[in-house]
Amino acid sequence: MPRILIPTPLRQYAGNLDSVELNGKTVGELLGALTAEYDELRRHLYTGEGKLRSFVNIYVNDEDIRHLDKEATSVAEADTISIVPSIAGGR
């Protein structure tokens, strides 16, 4: 099954697991399965309107899904999905 890596601060909402294996053929299906299993994760990943938060980036292996088919990106059994936040700032 594809494996989703859980960022450290979100593990408290995912049974304290650092990764989760779930069934799904696309990134959208996998994230849906993840938030169905761990409901508290939803508000950290999605807006109230159900869109991925602007600072949330999803990678399939080392590819940003924005450069693929976004949430419709297909996922293979051996793929690893990473949730990577955008970080920027300044004085």
Binding site: P7, P9, D18, D64, P85, A88, G89, R91
Partner: protein, 136 residues
């Protein structure tokens, strides 16, 4: 982290903090310097490439550590958490800000933004020598 910030002066530096989260504490065990990828003047802005942050997270996992926070510097101003910081940073991590004045480390603060990115609460920083000698 201090050396990285002084080296980057007068530009802002940025990096990832790897370590462990305990009950009510976060222990930084390793700092990973990351490239400031902001395209404009880096004297007042920083940006971390997501692929660099992903690599830092994978490095942490490989070494049995956790990615627990982000650091950056504020050249020639205080280590506050600015509106720019608040609006452009993912509110999941601790953010250490270092004030660098005339090229030298002055002070640091740590901040934890709320999920709405409307405010950040300060976190106490305990340095290794203080942790080792709590009575001194």
């Amino acid at each position: 982290m201090r050396a990285h910030a002084e080296q980057a002066y007068p530009n802002e530096c940025c990096g990832a903090m790897l370590g462990r989260i305990g009950s009510g504490t976060k222990l930084v065990q390793r700092a990973v310097a990351l490239d400031n990828a902001y395209a404009g003047s880096q004297k007042a802005r920083y940006e971390i490439r997501t692929e660099d942050l992903l690599e830092a997270d994978l490095l942490a996992r490989r070494d049995g550590l956790d990615l627990i926070g982000i650091y950056h510097s504020h050249p020639d101003c205080d280590a506050y958490f600015s509106r720019t910081d608040l609006q452009n940073s993912c509110p999941w991590y601790s953010f250490v800000v270092m004030s660098i004045r005339s090229g030298r480390f002055d002070h640091a603060t740590s901040w934890l933004p709320n999920p709405e990115q409307t405010a950040a609460e300060p976190e106490q920083i305990v340095y290794p020598e203080e942790a080792a000698c709590p009575e001194s």
